[in-house]
Symmetry: C2
Subunit: 337 residues, 2 copies
Amino acid sequence: MVTIYDIAKKTGFSTTTVSKALNNYSDVSEKTRQKILQAVEDMGYLPNAHAQSLSTKKSWTIGVMFAEDNEVGMKHPFFSAIIESFRKNAEREGYDLIFASRNLRNRDISYLEHFSYRGVDGIVVICSDSQDPQVQEMINSTIPIVVIDMNNQNCSLVYSDNIEGGKLAVNYLHSLGHTKIAHIAGDPSTDAGAERIKGYNKAMNDLKLPIPEGYLINGGLFSINEGKEAMEKLLLLDDVPTAVFVAGDHMAIGAIEVIKEKGLRVPEDISIIGYDDIEMAAYITPKLTTIKQDTDMIGFQAAQLLMNQILQKKKLVVSKKIPVELIIRESCSKKEN
Amino acid sequence: MVTIYDIAKKTGFSTTTVSKALNNYSDVSEKTRQKILQAVEDMGYLPNAHAQSLSTKKSWTIGVMFAEDNEVGMKHPFFSAIIESFRKNAEREGYDLIFASRNLRNRDISYLEHFSYRGVDGIVVICSDSQDPQVQEMINSTIPIVVIDMNNQNCSLVYSDNIEGGKLAVNYLHSLGHTKIAHIAGDPSTDAGAERIKGYNKAMNDLKLPIPEGYLINGGLFSINEGKEAMEKLLLLDDVPTAVFVAGDHMAIGAIEVIKEKGLRVPEDISIIGYDDIEMAAYITPKLTTIKQDTDMIGFQAAQLLMNQILQKKKLVVSKKIPVELIIRESCSKKEN
DNA sequence: CTCTTTATCGAAAGCGCTTTCGTTAATTGG
DNA sequence: CCAATTAACGAAAGCGCTTTCGATAAAGAG
């Protein structure tokens, strides 16, 4: 490994001057700077990130924490899309992402501890559970942080306009003539789930539509299987809804599966609208009508918010609410009477 | 930030002894070790990864490089599934993953340079293009490396048994009575594509089935759109195949789309078998019959191979061929009459 | 009781880099 | 021509930790 000491020796200058030349200090003449840069080139010198970070207290890394409750990790299409967007934007600013765990040399430590150990400049968390103590600990620390997919935390936040999304879904269904509209909700322990419920309730109210017993059903944590279970219950109702707004595409897919299994048709018998617009949505049958979350924008804004805090060297509490969009495909149709 | 110096002062020992106590050296008495650990607990001491790495030349990090040609990055379901599995296994051994880019403080550097700068202990690359110069550079470096999804490189490799997969697909189709079997291939510049073609050819040969002009068509880099384009060409043939083996699920989905658009049915008119078994495969209509790649095992073996090299402090050239599995769903049917 | 082991600890150097502060030489101003 | 700037550079300390090697004291051997 070639160090600044090596290139100092080669050029005849001190390590101080070499370091300064490399960091664009003004008190090094252009001539010597060129000489040094030439030597750097010739000898294939590369700085050592660890030494640099140790000295400057800045690591140019961002720690990322994923929801850990479910087993999917970065396999989740919605989360991975956001992270991919975040990564691109962070990279452009010169930051690398580091995925840490709770395992430090076989000792169990918290995420915050691990990130402190790594000396990250900031943290991004994508986590649905708004009560997660690990997340709270990080929010209360001094490390800049941005959390995605939560509302109402004492830190910088980026989230979709879930209330509006819920309204959008219900209003669209209503515009097709539906009045018996059910909602397979995301668990209210997740802010996303809770807000979509609010949107659903608000829209139903504004439309003066009744929400019969059983029409608002907790689908849990957004998995296909939970969507199935919820839909089965809905199908058992005396007055089966003609349309259902499902709080996540995966659950919607599950719902559609059971509807088909029961010999019913989507959308002819029951209209289904999902939420997220994951890749799969456009390719299942029928193609899923859904509320699209702008993952590119979410990742971008999250990166912005975090960079800002790092730059200003202090935690900022800023919220960005990202608009959602109704994507009309084939899983909803006019109510036949 | 509390350092070993702080806890040395508090306990009355030297930093040397503190460090030794923390690293389980034998020449520190049990009594003082306990005192020190107590102080560590009380003061909330955490080691500093940068200082540690600088001193020990070991960073407990693994660099990951993703195929960069396509825009999907970690959104790709197959790649992200592998990385997720790799991550879990690496974490268990105490390693963190770091995603680096080619941007170092706005200077364009190679992946190898970036990983050197970061001082990673090893590199994992998931990249289809077997000729990528960036990858070659890393393979030729001294850093332990494992590359996934390539054959025939001078380094440790983990890949699916693609030849066998190709045979499996063809033989299954043949067992259903099909003889006019086409192949929408992955680009031969990718080892995966090339090997699946080999498997297809071999199986067709063994079965003494002809491969008419146009039956072997290059689908490109595995995207849905490329699958569509390829299928359209197949449909233009004088003698349209009754079954097609598609080298990737995404392409297969595209193929199915165009078949439907043309008013034909899957599998009644044309049977389709895919490759990968991405999540979506089980939920499209018809549910996609496919060759499943064992992403969990691939990630696991890759981690093992890399850990071994790191442990032994030298590059090893070991290949792991991971078995694939035929997943029968609904997109293939018996050849009528 | 003297000599060798063994157990326990610390001084100091070093990892590669940054940054403060001082020094020297060259330049400017009057 | 002399004093005051300014330009260009380097010594040295420090970031937090590890590791070698030596020192001391206690224990064991004969």
